[in-house]
């Protein structure tokens, strides 16, 4: 039972949202288009959206000039270690904070939450000095090791989820059956927390893959840099400044993995964004 006014409003909404979507996606289309152009045609006036002639040479060009394969490998290495181990340790801590009572629990948790207030730029310099003392500069270790201890934001998120999702009766039942603490966590806690873990894995992947300031400070040898640092140094190290087709090809290379992961895990992103937003 839509009134005429409702139908008009709906039409306007559709028109506005569609126009907005075009504005959101146009930069990507423009990037793809530019990346397929030859250097002679990139400055054509008026600009052409459909490149004629279209070429993949720019992709070949950036791939051969910059060690992008290493970039992918390095970024992926950080992701695998930090997510593989860091999410597990975060889940362990969150499970304990959510489901058990022990002395100083609240004060420890509040102290940990307080660290969320410390901006990276404050700890960045001392951390750099510390890591250079032990010879870790220009390795991936400064980017991996701190992540293994479990990110506090992740602990907080998991705790919120586990408090409601894991029934205490189930833990008690496991205990009565003689199930130890660690086994109870692995067989009862972890399986129930799966959706929360998936959400944090998706968000964590984005955070690590897109991270820039940390990798920029630590990684100097091109073969040891992450994909973002390599792409950022494209203009100064590998191609000429006005070579926009190659630059856009490099951007697309950096974009594709993220967009792929996003499409596969879209649900988790949007859900966890909303959950962290409201409960944070």
């Amino acid at each position: 039972m839509m009134t005429k006014q409702d139908r008009i409003v709906r039409g306007i909404v559709y028109a506005l949202l569609t126009a907005g979507s075009f504005l959101m996606l146009a930069p990507f289309v423009w990037t793809v288009s530019t990346s397929l152009k030859t250097q002679q045609h990139v400055f054509d006036v008026p600009p052409q959206w459909i490149p004629k002639p279209a070429t993949l040479d720019n992709y070949v060009d950036v791939w051969s000039k910059a060690p992008l394969a290493y970039g992918f490998l390095n970024s992926a290495t950080i992701v695998v270690f930090v997510l593989g181990i860091g999410l597990f340790t975060a889940a362990m801590a969150a499970y304990t904070f959510a489901k058990y009572e022990f002395r100083f629990k609240e004060s420890i948790f509040m102290a940990l939450l307080g660290t969320m207030m410390i901006p990276y730029s404050v700890v960045m310099i001392p951390q750099y000095i510390g890591f250079s003392e032990i010879g870790w500069v220009d390795t991936l270790l400064p980017l991996i090791v701190p992540g293994l201890f479990g990110h506090i934001v992740t602990v907080f998120f998991f705790r919120q989820f586990m408090q409601g999702a894991i029934p205490s009766d189930l833990i008690d039942a496991a205990k009565i059956d003689g199930c130890g603490y660690f086994r109870t966590f692995v067989t009862v806690g972890l399986p129930i927390a799966k959706p929360a873990i998936a959400a944090q894995a998706a968000l964590g992947f984005m955070g690590i893959w897109n991270d820039f300031l940390g990798p920029l400070i630590y990684l100097h040898t091109p073969e040891r840099q992450t994909i973002q640092v390599l792409i950022a140094s494209m203009q100064s190290n590998y191609i000429s400044t006005s070579n926009y087709p190659s630059m856009m090809a490099a951007s697309i290379v950096a974009l594709v993995p993220v967009i792929l992961v996003f499409f596969f895990a879209q649900r988790y992103f949007i859900e966890s964004m909303a959950i962290t937003g409201i409960k944070g």
Partner: protein
């Protein structure tokens, strides 16, 4: 909790002690991580801020000289001003996001397509995004100035080359990259508002605008608050887009933020002590501003 009702029987105390041990073991990693990578650097940074050190030679204590230098440095004030200027993007982003969320908060065909379109910029790597905006904002050949020419028949601004336009460029790019995320938050908030409020208002003869103003806006205030707090903290720490799009701080240092200034002092000039002093000043500033926001929030944020 899980161990309730089990604390009276005697043999259980040994079990309880063992359980407590497991508890501390399980929470140990984040606590140790916090001590090594949070607390220790925080304190060390404070010590560094009173020293002059280029890492290569040995450090010398200089007292409060770093802070005095900071308050006398024109570049510091510029970076501070630039960072504050960029905060304009926060309310702008909120208005656009809320508009989008209100439009999407109805049964629409293809809603997930719309949501994806607005969300993709949010997840895109800032480096790739900065490179593509740098190209789009190109003075002579950028697509944005081309659009301006086609629509209005005037030459667009020299976005990244004119000191007056660098910051608006960042704000524009930030809007494009941020509204999708805030929109999702608002959408979740809107779906949580009970329809009974609106029905009651309709009985009283309230129109669309009146309902929006006196029901929707106030009930979304926890989300407004969250978006403002996170936006301010995030803007204070913005760095990557400046690094790509404003070489050496841009024309007349118009594109440098505080973190960019710290980065240059520390890793370009290797002035670890001075950079630590500025970083501490930034940390304290963020803390104070956030604290004020929380204090102030009691007056306007709706709690149920």
């Amino acid at each position: 909790m899980a161990n309730n009702g089990a604390s009276t029987a005697k043999p259980v105390t040994g079990f309880k002690r063992k359980e407590a041990m497991w508890c501390y073991l399980f929470i140990a990693p984040p606590v140790i991580g916090f001590l090594i990578f949070g607390l220790a650097p925080l304190l060390y940074s404070l010590r560094l801020s009173t020293m002059e050190w280029d890492i290569l030679t040995s450090p010398t204590g200089v007292g409060l000289a770093n802070f005095r230098e900071m308050f006398a440095d024109e570049k510091f004030y510029k970076a501070l001003f630039n960072t504050a200027y960029l905060m304009i993007g926060i309310p702008l982003g909120m208005i656009v996001s809320l508009l989008l969320a209100v439009m999407m908060n109805r049964p629409l065909k293809g809603i997930s397509l719309f949501r994806t379109a607005y969300y993709i910029p949010v997840i895109s790597p800032i480096i790739a995004v900065s490179l593509l905006w740098q190209w789009m904002l190109n003075y002579d050949y950028g697509i944005i100035n081309e659009w301006i020419w086609q629509l209005f028949g005037v030459q667009g601004p020299n976005w990244l080359g004119d000191p007056n336009w660098v910051k608006p460029s960042f704000i524009l790019m930030g809007l494009w990259g941020g509204v999708g995320g805030t929109m999702v938050l608002y959408l979740a908030g809107l779906q949580g508002i009970s329809t009974t409020y609106y029905e009651a208002a309709e009985v009283d003869g309230a129109g669309r605008w009146a309902k929006f103003r006196s029901i929707t806006l106030p009930l979304l205030s926890p989300i407004h608050f969250f978006v403002i707090v996170m936006g301010v903290i995030g803007t204070f720490q913005s760095f990557s887009q400046m690094y790509i799009m404003a070489t050496d701080g841009g024309p007349e240092y118009s594109g440098a933020t505080i973190v960019y200034y710290i980065f240059q002092e520390a890793f370009k000039y290797f002035r670890m002590g001075y950079a630590s002093a500025v970083a501490w000043a930034l940390g304290v500033l963020i803390f104070i501003v956030t604290l004020i926001q929380f204090r102030f929030s009691k007056r306007w944020v709706y709690q149920d």
